[in-house]
Subunit: 398 residues, 2 copies
């Protein structure tokens, strides 16, 4: 994490301060700013209940296709807050725009925290000038800290990228989805690059990267009211703008996916109360869709997650979760590995429970399910389920 302190993305400045939204006094307000307007794209929650800042940022990005600054607060989600919430979100962007001397329409907003409580807008109003004054190229870690809720560490990822001899950079910060197969714990991610990318290419690259990273972390329907991923490309690298047909597109796509995948791993590692990341690999399925269904059912199973926590190689729970996924699978053809140990072959025990159990308790547990019915595979990430998760979530508003 130390190296993140040195991350600079040309043209981007960051700040993260304590505005007093969180009772703890921890940092809770971040600003991300580019020196020039950026081509920008976003991916947002599909929940029918969308927080006010989500609705505002969606609208602005759709209309402007550009963005120059984002204000993000933690501690309050500004969700289910009615007309007042919509006004508060707008006011936040207006004040930031004024403080930064940029158009309000190029300003986005994200919020995360408790739902259904009005924003402490006065605290935010008072803090915005300080947050604007604190902007600096070196402060990416401050911003990453200010967007945290129950995260235990800030999440920053960076990739270098070479485009036709020019050396660019893609960086991102994220906050965790609390628990990983959750209903609604908010996931936020902001990505910044100095590479010049055409809008259509940026939209496509972001969608692809999100699909194979954040969307493999949680079932689609389980999105929160506030989930947001925004990418900003300010073009200061002065490369010829990348389009989705240009030969550098895949270079950009791969680098972006690497950043989102790294952040995904960090979120899984930092699941609320988690002691182990879990990687669920489903192999030799008839289609990616079926592989994903089964991987998600396993990753979403409370009984599988608690078994991993108990270092219990309970493959019965794994195969039963696979069986109820609504995808094609044959019990008598299914092999299951835990951390590489073949614990069930053709749907029956191999007697290797002890060896598999001994392999557990690591920072990452790998469950591999081989269906032997096709050539497609998919991987989904989650984490174990512990008493600590219950403790954290049983007392969140109070």
């Amino acid at each position: 994490m130390k190296k993140s302190l040195k991350i600079r993305v040309p043209g981007f400045t960051f700040s993260g301060i304590a505005a007093g939204i969180k009772q703890s006094g921890d940092p809770d307000l971040a600003i991300i700013k580019s020196a020039v307007p950026c081509t920008a794209a976003g991916v947002f929650t599909k929940n029918r209940v969308k927080a006010a800042p989500v609705r505002l940022s969606m609208r602005r990005l759709a209309r402007m296709k550009q963005c120059q600054a984002i204000i993000v607060n933690s501690g309050n989600a500004n969700a289910c807050t009615g007309n007042r919430g919509a006004e508060d979100a707008r006011v936040m962007t207006a004040l930031v725009a004024r403080a930064l001397g940029i158009p309000e329409t190029l300003t986005c907003v994200s919020s995360t925290g408790i739902i259904g409580h009005p924003m402490p807008i006065d605290a935010i109003t008072n803090a915005i000038p300080n947050a604007a004054a604190a902007l600096s190229q070196a402060s990416i870690m401050d911003a990453a800290e200010a967007i945290m809720t129950t995260d235990t560490f800030p999440k920053v990822s960076v990739q270098k990228i070479e485009i036709g001899g020019l050396r660019g950079i893609i960086a991102g910060i994220a906050k965790g989805a609390g628990m990983i197969c959750p209903d609604m714990a908010t996931m936020l991610c902001f990505l910044f690059t100095d590479v010049s990318v055409a809008h259509e290419a940026l939209v496509r690259a972001l969608k692809t990267s999100t699909d194979i990273s954040f969307n493999r972390l949680t079932v689609d329907n389980d999105m929160s009211t506030n989930d947001t991923v925004i990418v900003m490309a300010n073009g200061l690298l002065r490369n010829r703008p990348i389009t989705s047909t240009s030969r550098h597109y895949s270079t950009f796509q791969n680098a972006l996916s690497k950043v989102t995948s790294e952040l995904t791993q960090m979120i899984a590692e930092d699941g609320e109360g988690a002691t182990s990341k879990i990687r669920v690999e489903v192999e030799s399925a008839r289609s990616v869709k079926e592989a994903l269904k089964i991987a998600r059912a396993i990753a979403g199973s409370m009984l599988v997650k608690t078994a991993i926590y108990g270092k219990d190689p309970n493959w019965g729970r794994i195969i039963a979760a696979a069986g109820r996924a609504g995808a094609c699978m044959k019990e008598e053809k299914t092999d299951i590995r835990i951390n590489g140990v073949l614990i069930a072959k053709d749907g029956a025990s191999t007697g290797m429970e002890k060896k598999a159990g001994a392999s557990m308790g690591r920072k990452e547990t790998v469950i591999t399910v081989r269906l032997k019915s096709g050539r497609q595979s998919a991987t989904v990430f989650t984490c174990d389920l512990t008493e600590e998760y219950i403790r954290i979530n049983a007392h969140y508003t109070t």
Copy 2:
């Protein structure tokens, strides 16, 4: 529960003994027998991975439409046990049939417990004569105890029924689905009546009763490898057999549903580690299907369940779960009550958090969501999620 001790269903005898399948030495083998062959129907798990006893009992009930005895064991699910498991299930029915002097084809079998371990068939073989010898009309509670796994109390329900001046009885025993919105903790239920019912009517009545009781307790896809509900009607009441068009059908249907609903409530109350049952009512939806989708999303939300445990009236989690259910709902029209306290009106807080919080911590928590978009409603049952659930499930095979 005391009154259950007096339950007698004419013609039915029961036993429950300790066969040594459970290491604890607790009762783990039950026999249910009718003096005469019964009309019988069953509802089974839809999981693609079906335990051997499920496959055998499904086949026999489909072919014979009759059943005279059921052998049930707890401690081992006989699931994912390959050819040996299929043979073990068959042997269990053969031995019971021989001990009781009835046809093997009229004998069903159910198992619940750990998956993927071979049955301790010798222990069962040795115990069957004892279980047969212990059969008595008064032992229904013994059978209810012997089918328990992590249940903390035996579950028995009984309803009197009058058919054309004749006084019949419907009784049932069940074991819990561990946690209530679980992946696969097994639910077993056996129902017995002296009423004479035609096979088609019995099939229909059982399906209807299951749909509005057990199937409101858990999402369909979340069934275990072993879930089983079997009803046996021995006809000793000597009423004219009830068909689905006869005027007594609804009397029978209602009484059967009352038994399954009572057992459903007991299972919810006895959810693993639960401190409170939760009743989720969704009202004024456009269709029952949409109401059910939303009720199930709320009842399945780990964040809602942990909030209830924390006596936290966190309606934000409730509305967010509703929003991701994939059903039609408008945030700005949604009202939410907790234990009757209107905590959100038209999607925004009413400021009644304190009053709602004070109402929590009861044996049952009622969440009522009013969508104001139609005239249909649905209710789903679940329970809260506690550290104890994690403790129970983190160390189940070991």
